[in-house]
C-alpha cells in the first residue's frame, strides 16, 4: 500500500496566522531569554560559583597564613589560578549543558518546531548562556578584590646603611656611628679599619595604591573575554556532540586535556585573552607584567578572542541545521 486513496472531505482551512508571526530576531531573543532563565534557575549557577570560589578561597588562606601581604595577593594569584584554571571549569560546567541538556530531555523539539531558523535558536541559546555565565564568573573576582586589598597593610623596611669613613680627631661624630673601644684617636689613620653598617628601620605606607581600579577593570575584562572564548568552544561541543550531559562533559574534558595543554591553547586561548585585555588596558597592570612581551598584537588578539570562537559557533549552528535532534529514549 503506497498511497492514501480517499480524499477526506473537510471544510475550508482557516486563514494562516498573521504575517507578524515571522520575526527571526524576536525568535533569537526569546531563545536567549529562555536559555538565561534556565541557567539562572537551575543548579548550574551554584556549581559555577562553587568552582569560582577557589580563587577567593586561596586568598583567604593567604589572610590566615601571612597576616598581611606586602605585595597585592590578587596580583599574584589571578593570572595563574583564576584566568588559566577556574575559568576553564566554569565555562565547561556552564556552557556544555546549555544546549545538550535540552536535546537530552527533548525540550529542544519545542524550540525547533517554530518559524525561526535553527542557527538563530542556537545563537539565542548561546547568548542566553553566555551573559549570565560572564556575570557569575565576575563574582569571584569582585569578592577576591576587597579580600586582597584587606591584606595589604603598612609595613616596616629594614635597611643597613654604611657608616662614613672614620676620621681622626673628628669631633663631630654623628649619633649611631661606631666608635672603637678606647677611641679612634689611638688607631693609625687608614690602617685596619672595618666598614660598618647601621640597621635602619623605615615605616612604609600601605601599597594599596598599586591596586588601581584599572587593575580590577583589567581583571574583569580578562575574565569576560576568557568566558566568551572558552564557553563558546564548549557550547559548540554541546551542540555538535549533543547526546547525554555526562558524555558532553567527557568531550569537554577530553578537549581540555588534549587541546588545552598544548601550544594551541596557550596561544589561541590564554594568550589572546591576556593580549586583548592588556592592549586595551595599557599601561599594563602589575599582575600581567611580563605577559605583554609575548602577547600577540591587538588585532591578532581579537581574532583569537572573538573571530575564532564565533566561527566555531557558526560551524556548530550550521551542523545543527542538518542534525537530527531526537531527544531521550529514541
Amino acid at each position: 500500500m503506497s498511497s492514501y486513496p480517499a480524499p477526506i472531505a473537510v471544510p475550508a482551512a482557516p486563514p494562516a496566522p498573521p504575517a507578524s508571526a515571522l520575526n527571526p530576531l524576536g525568535g533569537l531573543l526569546w531563545a536567549a531569554r529562555i536559555s538565561a532563565r534556565q541557567f539562572l534557575t537551575g543548579p548550574r549557577k551554584w556549581v559555577i560559583l562553587l568552582s569560582g570560589a577557589a580563587f577567593p578561597g586561596l586568598l583567604s588562606i593567604f589572610v590566615f597564613l601571612e597576616k598581611g601581604a606586602m605585595v597585592h595577593p590578587f596580583l599574584q594569584l589571578f593570572d595563574q589560578i583564576y584566568l588559566q584554571g577556574a575559568i576553564l571549569f566554569i565555562a565547561l560546567l556552564g556552557a556544555i549543558p546549555a544546549f545538550s541538556s535540552d536535546v537530552e530531555d527533548g525540550t529542544v523539539l519545542y524550540l525547533f518546531a517554530r518559524p525561526t531558523p535553527r542557527p538563530l535558536i542556537v545563537a539565542g541559546k548561546w547568548l542566553g548562556m553566555l551573559i549570565p555565565l560572564m556575570i557569575l564568573a565576575e563574582v569571584p573576582v569582585l569578592v577576591a578584590w576587597p579580600m586582597a586589598l584587606a591584606q595589604v597593610k603598612p609595613y616596616t623596611v629594614t635597611t643597613y646603611e654604611p657608616t662614613p669613613p672614620a676620621r681622626t680627631g673628628d669631633a663631630a661624630r654623628k649619633p649611631g656611628e661606631n666608635r672603637p673601644p678606647g677611641g679612634v684617636e689611638s688607631a693609625p689613620p687608614g690602617a685596619g679599619q672595618i666598614q660598618k653598617f647601621n640597621e635602619v628601620k623605615k615605616e612604609m605606607p600601605s601599597r594599596r595604591h598599586t591596586a588601581l581600579p584599572r587593575d580590577l577593570g583589567t581583571a574583569l575584562l580578562a575574565t569576560a573575554l576568557g568566558v566568551l572564548q572558552y564557553a563558546t568552544f564548549f557550547f559548540s561541543i554541546g551542540v555538535v556532540f549533543n547526546r547525554p550531559y555526562i558524555l558532553a562533559m567527557v568531550y569537554g574534558v577530553i578537549f581540555e586535556v588534549f587541546v588545552g595543554r598544548t601550544p594551541v591553547n596557550l596561544w589561541v586561548m590564554s594568550k589572546f585573552v591576556r593580549a586583548a585585555s592588556l592592549r586595551l588596558m595599557e599601561p599594563v597592570p602589575a599582575f600581567f607584567q611580563g605577559s605583554l612581551e609575548t602577547a600577540p598584537p591587538l588585532w591578532g588578539a581579537w581574532i583569537g578572542i572573538v573571530i575564532i570562537p564565533v566561527f566555531v559557533l557558526g560551524v556548530a549552528a550550521l551542523i545543527a541545521t542538518r542534525k537530527a535532534y531526537i531527544g531521550k529514549g529514541i
Binding site: P5, A31, I34, G42, L109, Y110, F112, R114, A324
Partner: protein, 307 residues
C-alpha cells in the same frame, strides 16, 4: 501545489544501524488522520519528519507541498505536540506557552491573548499560573496541547497524546481533536490504542516495522486484506440449516456453528455480502442479526501486523 497534507516519497530514515522507516511512499489529504502501530513501528520518526525535527535519510518528506526539514516558515502552519512530558520546569504553564509564542515573533498582547485562549481551550487555565514542576501527568498533557494550538496552526501533529492520560483527559483530548477537525484544520495523531483513534477518525495510516502497511478508511483497509478471511457472524434459530446452505457458497473458506449463530470466514466479503440477502430470501432461513466481529481497528491491526 498538490493540495496534499503529507507527501512522502520513498522516505527512509535510519539511526545508525537501525532502520526506523523503510521506503515509505504515502499521500495524505487534509483532515484528521490516525497514525497507528505498535511501539517501534516508526510513528514517532514519521511525525518528527513531518515536523522537520530531522531530515529523511533518503527520499522526500513534504508537508503542505514543501520540504518539512529546513523550512522554518512552515511552522507558522504546524503545531507539534511531542510524546515526552519534559518542559522548561521553572516556568509556569502560561509563561511556557507565551515564551514559545515569543519565538514566533508575536508581540506581548498577542502572546497573552493567544496563550490565554489556548489554555482555556485545553481546560488548563486553572493551573496555568503554577510552576510546571508541580504539574500532574494530565496537566502536562493539556499544556502540551496548548502550546501546539496557541499559534493557530492549520496542522496539529500529536504524538501519543492519549498515552498515560486518565479517562477524563482522554475524553477531553478526543473531543478536542474532533472539534479541531470540524474547524477545518488537519490533525495527525499517533497512537497504539486503536479504539481511541477510531473514536476520533475513520481515516488511518497503519504502520509496522517502519513500513506503511495500509492507509485509508478502516473499512476500505479491511477490504484490501484479501489474504485474511473476513469474519461474518449471523444469528439465526436455524443455525444448522444456514450452515448447510452456506457450505456450498464458493466464497466461504471456513465456517463454525455456535449457540444460535453461524460464523463464516470469507476472503471476499463484498461479494459475499452482495449474495447473502438473495440466499437468505430463497432459503427462507431467518437471520436475526448480522455483524462482522472483526470489522474494527483492533482486528484489522491484528491482521496487518501478524506477518
Amino acid at each position: 501545489m498538490s493540495g496534499l497534507l503529507l507527501d512522502f516519497r520513498g522516505v527512509t530514515r535510519w539511526y545508525g544501524q537501525v532502520v526506523a522507516l523503510r521506503d515509505v511512499t504515502l499521500a495524505v489529504n487534509p483532515g484528521v488522520v490516525g497514525l497507528l502501530g505498535p511501539n517501534g513501528a516508526g510513528k514517532t520518526t514519521m511525525l518528527r519528519l513531518v515536523t522537520g525535527s530531522m531530515p529523511p535519510s533518503r527520499g522526500a518528506a513534504l508537508v503542505f507541498g514543501a520540504h518539512a526539514f529546513g523550512d522554518p516558515s512552515l511552522f507558522r502552519r504546524v503545531g507539534y505536540c511531542p510524546d515526552h512530558d519534559n518542559f522548561f520546569e521553572f516556568m509556569t504553564g502560561r509563561e511556557f506557552v507565551e515564551a514559545l509564542l515569543g519565538i514566533h515573533g508575536l508581540g506581548a498582547s498577542e502572546r497573552r491573548r493567544r496563550a490565554g485562549a489556548a489554555l482555556d481551550r485545553v481546560k488548563g487555565a486553572e493551573f496555568a499560573d503554577r510552576k510546571i514542576y508541580g504539574y500532574s501527568k494530565g496537566m502536562r498533557q493539556r499544556l502540551k496541547l496548548a502550546q501546539a494550538l496557541a499559534h493557530d496552526p492549520e496542522l496539529l501533529v500529536l504524538d501519543e497524546p492519549l498515552n498515560g492520560a486518565d479517562p477524563l483527559i482522554r475524553r477531553d483530548i478526543i473531543d478536542l481533536v474532533k472539534e479541531v477537525g470540524r474547524e477545518g484544520r488537519s490533525v495527525i495523531i499517533s497512537s497504539h490504542v486503536l479504539h481511541e483513534v477510531e473514536a476520533m477518525t475513520p481515516n488511518i495510516v497503519m504502520m509496522h516495522k517502519g513500513r506503511v502497511m495500509a492507509a485509508g478508511n478502516v473499512h476500505e483497509i479491511r477490504g484490501m486484506i484479501d489474504r485474511h478471511p473476513h469474519s461474518i457472524e449471523m444469528r439465526t434459530p436455524r443455525a444448522r440449516d444456514l450452515a448447510a446452505l452456506l457450505a456450498r457458497d464458493k466464497d466461504v473458506s471456513e465456517m463454525s456453528i455456535g449457540d444460535g449463530a453461524v460464523t463464516v470466514r470469507t476472503p471476499k466479503p463484498e461479494e459475499f455480502y452482495g449474495r447473502l440477502p438473495q440466499l437468505v430470501l430463497e432459503s427462507g432461513i431467518p437471520v436475526e442479526e448480522l455483524r462482522s466481529p472483526d470489522d474494527n481497528l483492533d482486528a484489522v491491526f491484528r491482521y496487518l501486523t501478524e506477518h
